[in-house]
């Protein structure tokens, strides 16, 4: 019985909304769930809830599938119930300034500590000078001076009084002291002295010598006494320094009770302030008197400041960070430098956080392709995850490019879930070639592209479209708008039994449909608007396809759509231009003659054929041998070519047609040119499914309809592709009207029955075909060639 063409309902799977109760999508509840992504979302939930290390997540799926959005929703929902992250701060290490210390504080306390320390310094800038200007301090200083004065000056005065009683005068000289003789309250001149009796002179000399000895001893004591006085003054200064600083610092200590690291930091601050209390008098020097709060924040007091690396008091829940440029420094942080007079300097305050710091205690989302394309970023991330700490190592130090001393900040413990988003092939490459990847990213979330187009899924899918309309602030969809959009969704995945989960494509379709609806002043998107969106989008991208058609029309590209020809038939291929695909008919020809069994694939010989195409051609040889020459070697040389094809050819979707063309060339039997065919064939002649079936059919239909449909034209496709048919309305209408036909075949003989002008034929029990059939002619010709070849071989031997 001759093969019948497919019916219209097989060519287009119309959407039946049945009894779903709505007029427009505004009547429905939007569905914000991750429809059809149970596998992926379960994986995400699993990874998030796994408390152990190494359960980071790799998320894959096509671009535009909506995986970022879905993951973001899941994580944010989980993170909102998570505990708030700690504040992380770097502070000066007074013992080793190049190794800043790290402080961990509850959320919000980091900034408070920073502010408190500013306030402490500002307060001390006022308080310390005031303390030393106070009457109490002055009075204590005076007491020490008085004590000293009483100890020494009074003694010198007493010595002076005794000297006066002994008729001597204690006097100052330019460089010290001297004692001179007095008589009658006046100093003796040398003449007066010489007039004195010798005993008296001697007495005066002895008295003066004795006083000189005592005076010498007194003068010797002065430095010691001054040193003692100085020490007392120092002790007094230290006491008042404590008086000024301790209460302020104690108030801080009580506020941060329960944080031993902070208390230890306060200890070092305290000690440093005691040792450098002079710094707090600095504002009294110079002509300018800047405000105290500015001085407190100046470089002079930077060592007391707190660098709050991560601290967001207002954030609730765990952090969710998406790093758009995941370079090494953006991930792990960096140390900045300031240049001054040709030298670079840095300190703890110039440490800047990376994404890992900000995400610590939460979640970090990174694009895998970007991560792998930035130098050292991947290695840096792995190191942090492996060691469970964030260590800021400048790259130049890490790789030994610079040997000058830089900062070595204390590492920060890391607790983060990393979500890498990337393509599937990157995932498998990493699995294959990076042994660390498997141990660090144990969970794989694979987002689906499609959903079963089943009745039970339709309400949720419509709910998804409702949600998208609302998110994009579009007009609602009417019932037929929904139906048409669903049908188009199946077309997106080339499968009438499935729906696309590609949010990007669905949103674009809805936006463009809404545009046309608004152009028509409608209040809802109708089916016609969706259709218009589809056709206008196709039209925008079809210039190249139309140019190809023109070339066919002009005979530049030779394609027959009527008549017959031996060793020639119309194949169908799909050309992808960006995100637009279209079918292109092309001619396949074959030649055959006696030979040694060599099958020449001209595409392969010219290196224009890909491996899959070459495989398909080799399968043809196997089929021919298996069917027609089981008991004798193949004695033919044949060649196959895609005529006027000057680009690369790959895939095996034309192998069935190639087989038909080759058999036609062998048998010398013509093939009908009003058909185009597509399908892959195996060694046993079974026709296998191919891709792009809709575009292929539409491509040949456009050619035929441009040349005027004759009613006998059509396309032969594999039966396995029936479920993929979602053809254009004009194609379906032409088929309904009998102007165009689509046939589905599952065996090569079925294809031959349509293409051949003769009966195909069945083998008898010996595997022989009737000579008047197509198969018989092929078989006969091969036998004849075998005979010729045999005779030639014998003739040569003779």
């Amino acid at each position: 019985m001759p093969l019948q063409p497919l019916s219209a309902d097989q060519l287009y799977h119309a959407c039946d909304l049945g009894d779903l109760p709505f007029e427009t999508t505004d009547d429905l509840e939007p569905d914000y769930s991750a429809l059809g992504q149970d596998r992926a979302t379960d994986a995400v939930q699993f990874a998030i809830n796994m408390p152990h290390s190494g359960y980071n997540l790799f998320v894959s799926g096509s671009a535009g599938i909506g995986k970022r959005l879905i993951i973001s929703r899941i994580i944010k929902q989980v993170a909102s119930q998570g505990s708030a992250p700690s504040d992380w701060c770097y502070v000066n290490n007074f013992d080793e300034p190049h190794q800043p210390r790290v402080l961990q504080l509850p959320q919000g306390l980091g900034h408070r500590l920073r502010q408190d320390l500013f306030q402490l310094v500002e307060t001390l800038l006022a308080q310390i000078p005031a303390t030393f200007h106070s009457d109490e301090y002055r009075s204590r200083v005076q007491d020490i001076h008085d004590e000293f004065q009483q100890q020494e000056e009074e003694k010198f005065k007493e010595m002076g009084q005794r000297a006066e009683q002994a008729q001597l005068s204690l006097m100052r000289t330019p460089h010290g002291y001297t004692v001179g003789p007095l008589r009658g309250g006046k100093l003796l001149t040398s003449e007066e002295f010489n007039r004195l009796p010798p005993e008296e002179q001697e007495s005066i000399k002895q008295a003066i010598a004795s006083f000189n000895d005592e005076l010498t001893e007194r003068v010797r004591q002065i430095p010691k006494l001054q040193q003692q006085n100085l020490e007392k003054l120092r002790a007094l200064e230290l006491e008042f320094t404590h008086l000024a600083i301790d209460p302020q610092l104690q108030a801080l200590r009580s506020r941060y009770n329960g944080f031993p690291d902070v208390q230890a930091f306060f200890d070092t601050v305290h000690q440093d302030m005691l040792e450098n209390v002079d710094d707090f008098f600095a504002q009294e020097k110079g002509d300018n008197h800047p405000a105290l709060h500015k001085i407190a924040r100046s470089r002079a007091f930077r060592r007391y400041q707190v660098n709050v690396l991560v601290g967001k008091a207002s954030t609730k829940g765990a952090p969710v960070i998406s790093e758009d440029i995941p370079s090494y420094q953006n991930l792990l942080g960096r140390i900045e430098y300031s240049a001054h007079m040709g030298t670079l300097s840095t300190d703890f305050s110039m440490i800047q956080p990376g994404a890992l710091h900000r995400a610590n205690g939460g979640y970090l989302v990174i694009d895998t392709r970007k991560l792998l394309s930035l130098p050292f970023a991947w290695e840096g991330l792995k190191r942090a995850l492996r060691n469970r700490e964030i260590r800021i190592d400048p790259l130049e130090k890490l790789y030994g490019m610079v040997t000058t001393r830089s900062l070595e900040p204390a590492p920060i413990p890391l607790d983060v879930k990393v979500l890498l988003i990337g393509d599937r092939h990157i995932y498998y490459l990493l699995k294959a070639y990076d042994p660390e990847f498997t141990s660090l990213f144990k969970v794989y979330a694979d987002f689906s592209e499609e959903l079963e187009r089943q009745t039970e899924n339709l309400p949720r899918y419509i709910g998804l479209m409702c949600a998208l309309c609302r998110e994009e602030k579009l007009l609602p969809l009417s019932r037929d708008g929904v139906a048409r959009a669903i049908e188009q969704s199946s077309r997106f995945v080339d499968d009438s039994t499935r729906l696309s989960l590609h949010r990007g494509k669905i949103v674009d379709l809805l936006r463009e449909s809404a545009y046309w609806a608004l152009q028509g002043n409608k209040s809802a998107i109708e089916g016609t608007d969706v259709e218009k969106a589809v056709t206008t989008a196709r039209h925008r991208n079809s210039q190249y396809a139309e140019l190809l058609q023109q070339q066919i029309e002009q005979g530049i590209l030779m394609i027959d759509t009527q008549g017959t020809a031996v060793g020639q038939a119309n194949a169908l291929s799909v050309i992808q231009m960006g995100d637009h695909r279209f079918g292109r008919p092309s001619r396949i020809t074959a030649t055959a003659r006696v030979g040694t069994g060599r099958m020449v694939d001209i595409e392969r010989e010219t290196k224009l054929g890909g491996a899959i195409h070459s495989k398909g051609v080799l399968i043809l040889s196997a089929f021919i041998g298996n069917r027609y020459a089981r008991n004798a070697p193949l004695s033919l040389n044949a060649s196959l070519v895609f005529e006027q094809s000057y680009g690369r050819v790959d895939g095996d979707s034309a192998s069935a047609l190639e087989l038909c063309v080759l058999l036609s060339a062998i048998a010398g039997t013509p093939l009908n040119q009003q058909f185009a065919a597509t399908g892959s064939v195996n060694q046993h002649g079974m026709i296998q499914a191919i891709g792009g079936v809709n575009e292929k059919i539409e491509g040949f239909f456009e050619l035929c309809s441009q040349r005027e449909l004759r009613g006998n034209q059509g396309v032969i496709i594999p039966s396995a592709n029936i479920q993929h048919l979602i053809l254009r309305r004009d194609v379906v209408e032409a088929c309904e009207n009998g102007d165009f036909h689509i046939y589905a075949v599952s065996q090569i003989d079925e294809m031959l029955a349509l293409l051949s002008t003769e009966k195909v034929g069945e083998p008898d029990s010996d595997g022989l075909y009737s000579p008047r059939t197509f198969n018989g002619k092929v078989q006969r010709q091969l036998q004849d060639w075998h005979e010729i070849a045999r005779k030639q071989a014998h003739g040569d031997q003779a």
Partner: protein, 244 residues
């Protein structure tokens, strides 16, 4: 022209104080006279062969001689001339150098009528340790119930502004300024201490902890207008300036 007289003793030249005086004279538009007082009594006993000098810094003992004293004075004179030349290049001031042999207040009598300001560089005791550098020492000025106090106050305020020190007003009983509000405006950072009596000894005790300079109206310490020793003129650690 009005004159600022800076009295110096041999071995007693503080370059900072000298610079202060030069700047003050330049500010006021006065001429500067540096008056070195050679103690006659020293010269007297220097003639005695058995008199020794005990050196302050080393406690070493050496012969006190007229020749050495005169050498010291001559050297000091040369140093002083060089310093004054250098300082007056920066702050142009007419200056003069004089040596007087005798007591310091007698040396002031020469040109007394032109002398408006006397800076006594005496009173720096070896036994008085330097006050803590952290103590914000003030310029102190005595305010007595007489007309000269206003000029002294003006000079003190000017000096405090130049040296960026606070001003301390010592209000004696009867002074027109008994509280800060009584003082003229524009005096800068200031403080007022009421002195309960005009006994100089009480001021001597606590003033060194608060100030390093004391400005005295001439009429407050020399009522008859002639220079003479006074307890407020040699407070240890205080440089005294007398204002006519």
């Amino acid at each position: 022209m009005s004159r600022l007289v800076l009295t110096l003793q041999p071995g007693d030249i503080d370059p900072l104080k000298l610079e202060r005086c030069v700047r003050l004279a330049a500010e006021l538009g006065f001429e500067l006279e540096a008056l070195i007082i050679e103690d006659q009594d020293l010269l007297t006993i220097a003639g005695l062969p058995f008199c020794q000098e005990i050196i302050r810094h080393s406690a070493r003992c050496r012969q006190l001689s007229t020749h050495r004293l005169e050498n010291t004075t001559r050297q000091q004179l040369q140093d002083l001339q060089a310093q004054l030349r250098r300082l007056t290049r920066q702050s142009p001031v007419p200056w003069d150098l004089r040596i007087y042999r005798g007591r310091w207040f007698e040396g002031l009598m020469d040109g007394w009528s032109q002398t408006d300001l006397i800076v006594l560089a005496r009173g720096q005791s070896d036994f008085h340790p330097r006050p803590s550098h952290r103590v914000d020492t003030a310029i102190a000025v005595l305010s007595a119930p007489d007309g000269g106090s206003y000029r002294a106050l003006q000079l003190a305020a000017r000096l405090a502004r130049i040296q960026k020190q606070p001003l301390l007003v010592l209000a004696l009983p009867g002074s027109p300024y008994q509280s800060v509000q009584d003082l003229p405006s524009g005096l800068g950072r200031l403080r007022l201490e009421s002195v309960p009596d005009d006994n100089p000894q009480s001021i001597r005790r606590w003033l060194p902890a608060m100030a390093d300079t004391l400005i005295l109206p001439l009429t407050a310490i020399w009522p008859d207008g002639l220079p003479a020793p006074h307890a407020l003129l040699d407070i240890p650690g205080i440089q005294t300036i007398v204002v006519r």
